[in-house]
C-alpha cells in the first residue's frame, strides 16, 4: 500500500462504541505513524480488544471516524474492506488458528486465497515459520501444539504476506514468562528487521517495557537491551481506562507522568 510516509497508518478520530448501555470506547482519538510500534495498555475490560477489532474493520464504531492507510473505514464497501485487510496482519488473543487445517495451510491461508503459486506459497510459509522458529511443526495440526507454539504460528500467519500493519491482540496473554519473552522477542525482531508499523495490546507491563528498551541484534540473532539505558524511539504508548484515553505518548513521558492513576497502574 503506497501511502505517503508522513500520513498516519492508523488514525482514530473521536471514536465511540457501546454495547447495550455500556460505552466501551468513549471519544478515543490517536494516531499511529509509519514505522511506529504503539503499545496499548490498560485494565482488563477497558476496550482494548474492541479498539483492535475496529482498527481492522471487524467492528464499526457508533461515532467517530477511523482511517487506515488514509482510507476511512466506514466509507469502504465490504470488498474494499477485504482488499484493505490484505495489507494488515492480525494476531488474535487466543491465536484463532483454523483447527481443521495443518500449520502449513494455516500460515498459507492468505497466499492460497490470493492464488499464489504452490511452490512460492510453500517457500514463503517455510520462511515465515523459520522466522518464528517453528519450521519443524509445518505438518502438525493446531491441536498438537502448545499455547506458545500456537501463538507463534499465529504470528507467522500474520507476517507471511509481509503486511504494512500488524495488530497484536495480547500475544503473550495466558503464557508463562519464558514463552512470553520468546513472543516479545519475535515482536521486537519483526519491528527491527521489517520496520513494520504495529499496534500491540499487552496486560504485562514488563513486556511493554521490554519492547521499549530492547532491540534485535541480527548478528547474534537475539534480542538485547539498547545500550546506555536507551529507549526505542519508535515505541509509543496509549493507555485506556474505562473506554477513555488516559495517556498518549512516549516511554519517557509515561514513566515520568504525574497522573496518580497512571503512576499506580505502572508501578
Amino acid at each position: 500500500m503506497s501511502e505517503p510516509v508522513s500520513q498516519p497508518i492508523v488514525e482514530f478520530r473521536h471514536v465511540s462504541i457501546h454495547f447495550d448501555e455500556n460505552k466501551v470506547l468513549n471519544d478515543v482519538s490517536f494516531t499511529v505513524a509509519h514505522g511506529e510500534t504503539r503499545i496499548l495498555l490498560g485494565p482488563a475490560g477497558g476496550g482494548k480488544s474492541v479498539l483492535m477489532k475496529i482498527a481492522n474493520g471487524l467492528m464499526m464504531p457508533d461515532e467517530g471516524e477511523v482511517f487506515i492507510f488514509g482510507q476511512e473505514l466506514s466509507k469502504l464497501t465490504e470488498n474494499e474492506m477485504f482488499a484493505m485487510r490484505a495489507h494488515v496482519g492480525m494476531v488474535f488473543q487466543e491465536s484463532a488458528l483454523f483447527d481443521s487445517l495443518s500449520v502449513e495451510d494455516n500460515v498459507a491461508y492468505r497466499l492460497q486465497e490470493e492464488h499464489c503459486p504452490v511452490q512460492e506459497t510453500h517457500d514463503r510459509v517455510v520462511e515465515a515459520l523459520r522466522f518464528v522458529e517453528l519450521e519443524k511443526a509445518i505438518d502438525k495440526f493446531p491441536s498438537e501444539l502448545s499455547g506458545g507454539m500456537r501463538r507463534r504460528v499465529s504470528i507467522a500467519r500474520a507476517i507471511v504476506s509481509k503486511p504494512d500493519l500488524i495488530l497484536y491482540d495480547s500475544p503473550t496473554g495466558g503464557l508463562d514468562p519464558i514463552t512470553s519473552n520468546t513472543i516479545i522477542e519475535l515482536v521486537v525482531k519483526q519491528r527491527d528487521v521489517s520496520k513494520t508499523t504495529s499496534l500491540l495490546i499487552t496486560h504485562r507491563l514488563q513486556d511493554a517495557f521490554t519492547l521499549a528498551t530492547h532491540r534485535f541484534n541480527q548478528e547474534t540473532g537475539h534480542m538485547e537491551p539498547i545500550p546506555d539505558g536507551g529507549i526505542d524511539p519508535s515505541t509509543q504508548f496509549l493507555v485506556l481506562n474505562e473506554g477513555h484515553v488516559v495517556f498518549d505518548g512516549s516511554t519517557e513521558e509515561l514513566v515520568r507522568t504525574d497522573d496518580p492513576w497512571l503512576r499506580s497502574f505502572i508501578s
Binding site: 471487524l58 477485504f82 482488499a83 485487510r85 488474535f92 484463532a96 483454523f98 483447527d99 491461508y109 486465497e113
Partner: protein
C-alpha cells in the same frame, strides 16, 4: 431469567428475521460472483449428501414398511388391499419422502453446521477469516447452501425409492400381495404434478437447513454453552420451518396442479 418486555421481544424477533434474511440474500448473491469455493462445495456435498445416505435409506425404507402395514389394515375393511401400492407411493413421493428426509438431514446437518460455525465464532476463527481477507459467508455459507439444496434433492429420490421398496417388501412378504401389481399400482398412481411437488419440497428444505444452521452458528456468543444453545435452537427452528414450508408448498402445488 428476566422476562423481556413485549416491545423488546418484538424488536429482537424482527432483528433476527432481518439478520437471517440478509445472510440468506448475501449467500445466494455470492453464488453469482467470484471467488467461488468449488472444492469446499464438493466437500460439503460429501458430508451432507453421502454422509446422510444411511439414515435416509433406513428412514425411508421403514416408513414405507409401516405405511404399507397401516394402509392395509384400513384398506382391508373396504376390500381394497390391492390399492396399498397406490397409497404408499403417493404418500412417500408427495409427502413423507421429502418431509422425513428434510427432518432427518436437518437433525444431522443443521446441528453440525451450527456447532461447527459456532465453535469457529467463539474461538475467533470467523474474525480471523475476515481479517485474512475472506468473506465467511462466501467461504462457509454459500458452499453449504449449494450442497444442501443439491444433495437433499437426490436424497429425497433415494428416500422415495426406499420407501416404495419397503412398502413392496411388506406387501409381498407379509400381506401376500402380488409384487407386479403393487409396483404397477404404485407407478400408475403418480402423476406429473405429484412428482414435481415431491421434488420441489427438498429444494426449500435444503435452503432452510443450510441457512438456519449457518445463521445460528454465525450468531453464536457465550463460549461452549452458547454453541450448545445455538445448535439446539438451529435444529428446532429448521425442523419447524421445514414442516411449515411443506404446508405452504403443498398449498401452492394444489393450487397449480389441482391435486
Amino acid at each position: 431469567m428476566p422476562f423481556a418486555s413485549p416491545e423488546a421481544l418484538a424488536k429482537k424477533i424482527i432483528g433476527s428475521v432481518q439478520e437471517y434474511s440478509l445472510l440468506s440474500a448475501r449467500a445466494v448473491g455470492n453464488l453469482f460472483s467470484k471467488p467461488r469455493y468449488i472444492a469446499d462445495t464438493f466437500t460439503q456435498m460429501d458430508s451432507i449428501g453421502f454422509g446422510s445416505v444411511p439414515i435416509v435409506v433406513l428412514t425411508g425404507f421403514f416408513t414405507g414398511c409401516v405405511l404399507a402395514l397401516q394402509a392395509a389394515v384400513s384398506l382391508k375393511e373396504f376390500g381394497a388391499v390391492n390399492m396399498t401400492g397406490r397409497l404408499v407411493s403417493l404418500s412417500m413421493v408427495k409427502e413423507l419422502g421429502p418431509v422425513l428426509t428434510g427432518l432427518m438431514v436437518s437433525g444431522r446437518n443443521t446441528s453440525g453446521m451450527a456447532s461447527e460455525l459456532g465453535s469457529m465464532k467463539v474461538s475467533e476463527q470467523i474474525d480471523a477469516m475476515r481479517a485474512l481477507g475472506t468473506d465467511p459467508i462466501r467461504k462457509l455459507v454459500a458452499p453449504r447452501l449449494v450442497a444442501s439444496v443439491v444433495m437433499l434433492f437426490f436424497l429425497t429420490i433415494i428416500a422415495d425409492a426406499c420407501g416404495t421398496a419397503g412398502g413392496a417388501a411388506v406387501s409381498v412378504l407379509l400381506l401376500r400381495l402380488n409384487a407386479g401389481e403393487f409396483l404397477h399400482t404404485s407407478y400408475m398412481a403418480l402423476q406429473y404434478g405429484d412428482v414435481v411437488e415431491g421434488l420441489v419440497k427438498p429444494l426449500f428444505s435444503g435452503f432452510i437447513i443450510a441457512t438456519v444452521g449457518c445463521y445460528y452458528g454465525l450468531k453464536t456468543t457465550g463460549g461452549t454453552r452458547g454453541v450448545g444453545q445455538s445448535t439446539t435452537q438451529a435444529v428446532v427452528v429448521a425442523s419447524v420451518s421445514i414442516i411449515l414450508c411443506d404446508f405452504l408448498v403443498t398449498q401452492l402445488m394444489i393450487g397449480i396442479f389441482g391435486r
